[in-house]
């Protein structure tokens, strides 16, 4: 009869081996061999992320298609009546089209920078790291490289979202502006003060700047990227100051900054590629 202790010892040995593997992965801090292994595993698992995106997009499109079909018949009758009534409004429609084109040019940030900007969709995100990471659907094949700026549109303006952290063949990992590992040199627009923006893993950022009695920093002031940043061009909106408080160091103040981007709803991003590195979009 088998000794009960040996029956249970095998799972414990297996547990110890698995935990050792886990600790080795943690402690080795992404050495070259670990990175190669991680990239290989990513290619094996990438179909799950892609299929998730395909399933959701297909479901959304199917649902939208059904809604359109159901509404089409009634809309057809209504539109015929409207067309008959408003034949004289074609001129006004033409003017609205021209205005629409101007507004699209304002919102269409990509057209302003030509080939330097690459649009990318959010591919996956985890609630464990909601304010830390997202994965987008553009990678090495599209000309993306690490440590380039990632923006998103808010109120018709391009605003800072994060930067590329890790690049794979068809996707990239973005470190968000609210990630504690993220920091960017910034400027308080109205006060004309340099500051350092850091993430806090929640919906706000912290801005540290030197105390100066002659300068008043108030709530609602805009925070923009500074010329000191090596990743972000100067002048992109980061957020607005929501409160200012003393820091533990006497010479500095800390401001709480509300990001310009609503991180709960971001789905489209813009990757800024360096000049000379044209997008393949």
């Amino acid at each position: 009869m088998q000794n009960p202790s040996t029956i249970h010892s095998n799972p414990i040995k297996t547990l110890i081996v698995l935990l050792l593997i886990g600790f080795l992965l943690l402690a080795s801090h992404l050495t070259e061999k670990i990175v190669v292994m991680k990239k290989f595993m990513f290619y094996v698992l990438a179909p799950s992320a892609t299929s998730a995106s395909v399933v959701v997009n297909f479901s959304t499109k199917s649902f939208e298609g059904v809604k359109t079909i159901v509404a089409a018949r009634q809309e057809n009758i209504v539109l015929k009546e409207i067309i008959n009534k408003h034949l004289g409004s074609w001129v006004e429609l033409d003017q609205l089209r021209q205005e629409n084109a101007r507004l699209r040019e304002l919102v269409g940030f990509k057209s302003q920078l030509g080939n330097m900007a690459l649009s990318a969709q959010v591919l996956s995100r985890d609630s464990d790291g909601w304010f830390q990471w997202i994965t987008v659907n553009k990678g090495i094949k599209d000309g993306v490289i690490a440590d380039v700026a990632v923006l998103a549109i808010a109120n018709a303006q391009p605003c800072v979202l994060g930067r590329i952290y890790e690049v794979f063949e068809n996707s990239s990992k973005v470190i968000l502006i609210t990630n504690p590992l993220f920091s960017v040199p910034a400027k308080l627009k109205n006060a004309n003060r340099d500051a350092l923006i850091e993430g806090s893993n929640n919906g706000f950022l912290s801005a540290r700047f030197l105390k100066d009695e002659s300068v008043v920093v108030s709530c609602g002031d805009d925070v923009i990227t500074s010329a000191l940043s090596s990743v972000f061009p100067q002048g992109f909106r980061i957020g607005t100051i929501s409160s200012v408080q003393e820091s533990s160091e006497e010479s500095t103040l800390v401001a709480l900054v509300k990001p310009a981007i609503n991180l709960n709803t971001v789905s489209e991003t813009i990757i800024l590629l360096p000049k000379g590195n044209k997008s393949k979009d």
């Binding site: 095998n10 886990g22 992965l25 299929s51 399933v55 959701v56 893993n201």
Partner: protein, 159 residues
């Protein structure tokens, strides 16, 4: 052989569902941790061995796809899988209340393990991991666990 194929397919499906829910269905970042629920279910229904292997593989997948600390979720889910598996046969796992309590405890344990790992291996202050999402997710996990366990149970019984 058939079982291996079925469990492999189920593994990819669980990862896909986890990604779908977290990416597209999360509300203000709050979404259930399907991978954690799958590990706990397999542990209490099949034992510690299956639980820890499920935890190891699903944790490694989440680390590859989503995490910065490569290995953090691997360790946490492996420990959760093994520990939950020790309860197999020791309690009434058909009771919805028991399932919810177990999932709540395991979720907070998972969070605690991640905080400890970040405190030891990361430059981020471990307390920064705590926000409204990490504190509400265990409650959400517990609330939906009876339904999720029922679905998983149907899958296991049919295969």
């Amino acid at each position: 052989m058939k079982k291996i194929i079925i469990y492999t397919i189920a593994f990819f499906v669980v990862v896909s569902i986890h990604l779908i829910i977290n990416t597209y269905l999360a509300t203000f970042g709050i979404a259930p941790n399907i991978a954690l629920l799958a590990v706990i279910f397999l542990a209490v229904s099949k034992g510690s061995r299956m639980g820890m292997w499920a935890g190891f593989l699903l944790g490694l997948s989440l680390d590859v796809l989503l995490s910065d600390m490569f290995g953090s979720r691997t360790i946490a889910l492996t420990i959760i899988g093994y520990s939950a598996g020790l309860l197999r046969g020791e309690w009434d796992d058909s009771s919805g209340l028991n399932q919810a309590v177990l999932v709540l405890l395991c979720s907070f344990t998972y969070l605690t393990l991640l905080i400890i790992e970040y405190a030891i291996f990361s430059t981020i202050q471990a307390n920064l991991l705590l926000n409204h999402i990490t504190l509400l997710q265990p409650v959400l996990n517990a609330l939906i666990s009876p339904a999720i366990f029922w679905v998983f149970g149907r899958f296991i019984n049919n295969n």
